[in-house]
Symmetry: C2
Subunit: 325 residues, 2 copies
């Protein structure tokens, strides 16, 4: 029986979206126990289904680590503390990214030997069913070459543990495929990985090929990864808008829509970041999943699926083991 | 009468694509004179239509500045030299990016006061007809805060000169909208722009909103800009592929396609990087346009349109004037 703890506050859509997400998720999975932390009076729908912990304070969206640490009665801090004290399997929040990541790191501690934690999310590859593990997508503002090398190690272990890829192909995200291309720290990380004969290291990959299927793991610093993530989201949304507009022109195009409705839905689902659900903070001593701030019930259900899958795959222990080798 | 000089060699599709692109362009524009530089025997179709200069050597795709400078008989060097010696209005090439950018900079010289040149390309905004000027998209591997501030100045002048935006909204590309978000040099550039009361500076913008229409100019370092550009290209291509797949399922979906064929075409054109044509190297003493290495005739025609438009708008002199203020 896996045990997840959920911070139900701090999302853009209020606790009701989170509550619906939890209920939907529990309809899918039976072998799981959820502790919901938040304003008790907003969680009545979960009574008798989840364990509820009353923690009425809400961490503001722009809160930093220190502020969160001081808000001892906030749903976020209580959720993290409960995870730690009771050795639960995962904690999930859609509140302040910076606050949640720092407070989790400080409370749960880093895996020994890890220099910096990295946010990781799987992206859909053009090859059906394949997932591309990209990290860091935003836990850091800059990273050293050594940190990038460690991200490569963690990404590789994640791809093996979560997606069962035996020998993941690992690439560095750069502005050219040649080894002399890239920002200074990317060039240096390239040399470090090459000299170490890093397993599965295939060199640099350009952003346009990152999801083509060649790469199982794409490594970048947190600033660049965040630009990649959000550029992809932005263009996907933009194109979705163009696709919709295309069908709205006249009666004939509306008729056309009826014929491909299923296909449009499939496409939106493939590209919808909500179905990705959440990003994991890799390198911390526990499964920490950050859901999108604007998660609706569906997105939050997907974030719970991610947390469940990561806990089930025992990804934290596998990373510990891998880093010790 | 505008005078353009074209390096016809070094593209992935050979000189024939470039020749077709030139012919198509000359069907559109009459008040323009083109000098085509390359292997004379491959340019016979242009005889009597363009001035032809025989320069048989081809610069390799991975050539650096020094190598290009030494290839005095290469089509690229002869094109750049001709532009310089004869004071022509623009030079266009789809050959080695690094080689072309460095050789142009060294030969044509920087505009006095410019620290670093930046590659700039207009992206289609979600608001119909609006173009977003994004720079640098790849001339540099890293940039200082001061260079980013200068990119803001050049981008603003470009938006005014080429798109006639009177008061462009200028943003810094970052991983969050708050001013304390970003890589260290972005944070510092933010403070410099703020302290200088930079006209139209509106703060940070996230990659997902860069094309929403709020921004007329988006400033980033060359490495980050290249990731943004190529992530956008990659996702647009990926989605185009999903859209096609959606119509291919069965007879009904194929019928659906007939109804929205026009819309699909319109969408592909909006998102097709080929229609962007080329990127200009801003900061150099002359209009230098880099076309995509894999330009086909259509893409190259679009690159010629870009060069024509930039020369016509007298963008180089406007930047000189603006930097002096």
């Amino acid at each position: 029986m896996l045990k997840l703890v959920v911070d139900t506050m701090g999302g853009d859509n209020g606790s009701s979206a989170i509550v619906e997400g939890i209920l939907d998720f529990l309809n899918e999975k039976k072998d799981v126990e959820i502790t919901a932390v938040g304003k008790k009076e907003e969680l009545t729908k979960l009574e008798g289904i989840c364990r509820i912990i009353d923690a009425p304070d809400v961490v503001p969206m722009d809160a930093g680590a220190l502020e969160v640490m001081h808000m001892k009665n906030s749903s976020m801090m209580v959720a993290i503390k409960t995870m730690k004290d009771e050795h639960l399997d995962a904690v999930i929040s859609c509140g302040s990214t910076g606050g949640f990541l720092s407070a989790s790191t400080i409370n749960l501690k880093m895996i020994p030997g890890v220099k910096r934690a990295a946010l990781v999310a799987p992206f859909p590859a053009q090859k059906k069913g394949q997932k591309v593990v990209i990290l860091d997508i935003g836990a850091n503002n800059e990273n050293s070459p050594e940190e990038l090398v460690q991200f490569a190690t963690m990404g590789r272990l994640y791809s093996q543990a979560v997606y069962g890829v035996e020998e993941p192909n690992v690439y560095l995200l750069s502005n050219g495929t040649e080894e002399e291309k890239g920002a200074p720290e990317v060039k240096e990380a390239h040399q470090l990985l090459k000299q170490a004969n890093f397993p599965g290291f295939k060199g640099n990959i350009e952003a346009r090929s990152a999801l083509s299927g060649e790469a199982d793991v794409v490594v970048c610093d947190g600033f660049t990864g965040n630009i990649f993530l959000k550029a992809s989201e932005g263009i996907a949304k933009y194109m979705g808008f163009l696709v919709k507009g295309m069908f709205k022109k006249n009666l004939w195009t509306k008729l056309g829509y009826l014929h491909v409705k299923g296909g449009v839905k499939e496409m939106s689902e493939t590209m919808d970041y909500k179905s990705t659900g959440g990003a994991m903070l890799l390198g911390v001593n526990g499964v920490v999943v950050k859901a999108h701030g604007n998660s609706d019930a569906y997105a939050f259900k997907c974030a719970l699926r991610v947390a469940y899958k990561l806990a089930e795959a025992d990804v934290v222990n596998k990373i510990k083991g891998g880093l010790n080798q």
